[in-house]
Amino acid sequence: MALSSTYNDLLISYYGPFSMRIISTIGKHLTENINASEITKMKLYRVFIELCQNVARYSAERHVLLDSSIIGVGTIHIQNNDLYFKCTTVNRILSEHQNVLIKNCREINSSTKEDLKKRKEKFRKESTILDTGAHIGLIAVCLYSENQFEFDVTDNPENSATYFSITATINKT
């Protein structure tokens, strides 16, 4: 997936395991060093955490940390221009999951804000105790960013892998 090109500054770019330490360190950098209003920084932070934790949980490319925990591998880019931040993650997925993922993304993007809030409430109530994902991460990304997200599923013929990319746009206020 190509990043938006000429008119966006690349603020952060990372490829690797999405451990909590990595996520929290980058997140801390966002809140402390990004030039934006407090409201915008918090929106970016919320979107960033949700997208990163989706990679950590669901990426089909896994990495074993020193403490033997297994974490997802992927990429995050954060770009910036005068009007908005764009937060993009890319991770490998199992090809058999792509249809459901595309369907869910299309449904979220075509939903009103009120519909999304109802879906969020429904999934939160229905999630089981052991379901750490809560199924509502992408809904939250759409609500926090207040924009439809861009997404894509592509196949890499070189390694027969399928990749999911998602970009959330956070307008600067």
Partner: protein
């Protein structure tokens, strides 16, 4: 029964501090909450609350979270559902939520939790670190 204090990883920002005092019933959760395994973190917290509630004593629940992820929200809602049941049984619970003024999304989250749980929450704007 003992008080519950959890500050297991002070250098890891994604675990909140939990400070539940048995003697006074003042229970506070502060910081940020977005750990990977929310169930393992919140299970002992909820168990403690259930056990405390058997004594029918008042609870003052202070929330000073500056951020929580969607996975944590499920357990925050579970705590509020416990409080609702406790209130319906004639017991006393006061929930106070302190949030940063420049964080309208947090106010939205709080109001959604009020709607979903049916628990009244006193909301205050503050300067939180």
């Amino acid at each position: 029964m003992e008080s519950l204090y959890i500050n297991s990883y002070p250098d890891l920002v994604f675990f909140p501090i939990v400070d539940f005092k048995y003697q006074t019933g003042v229970c506070e959760i502060s910081g940020e909450s977005y750990m990977e395994d929310t169930y393992s973190f919140y299970e002992p917290v909820i168990i403690w609350l259930r056990e405390y509630m058997q004594e029918k004593k008042p609870i003052i629940f202070n929330v000073k979270l500056t951020y929580f992820n969607t996975s944590s929200s499920r357990f925050i809602l579970e705590m509020l559902d416990l409080f609702k049941k406790y209130l319906n049984e004639g017991n006393q619970v006061i929930v106070n939520w302190y949030y940063k003024k420049d964080d309208p999304d947090m106010l939205t989250e709080i109001n959604e939790l009020i709607d979903e749980s049916g628990v009244d929450i006193n909301i205050y704007t503050v300067t939180l670190q």
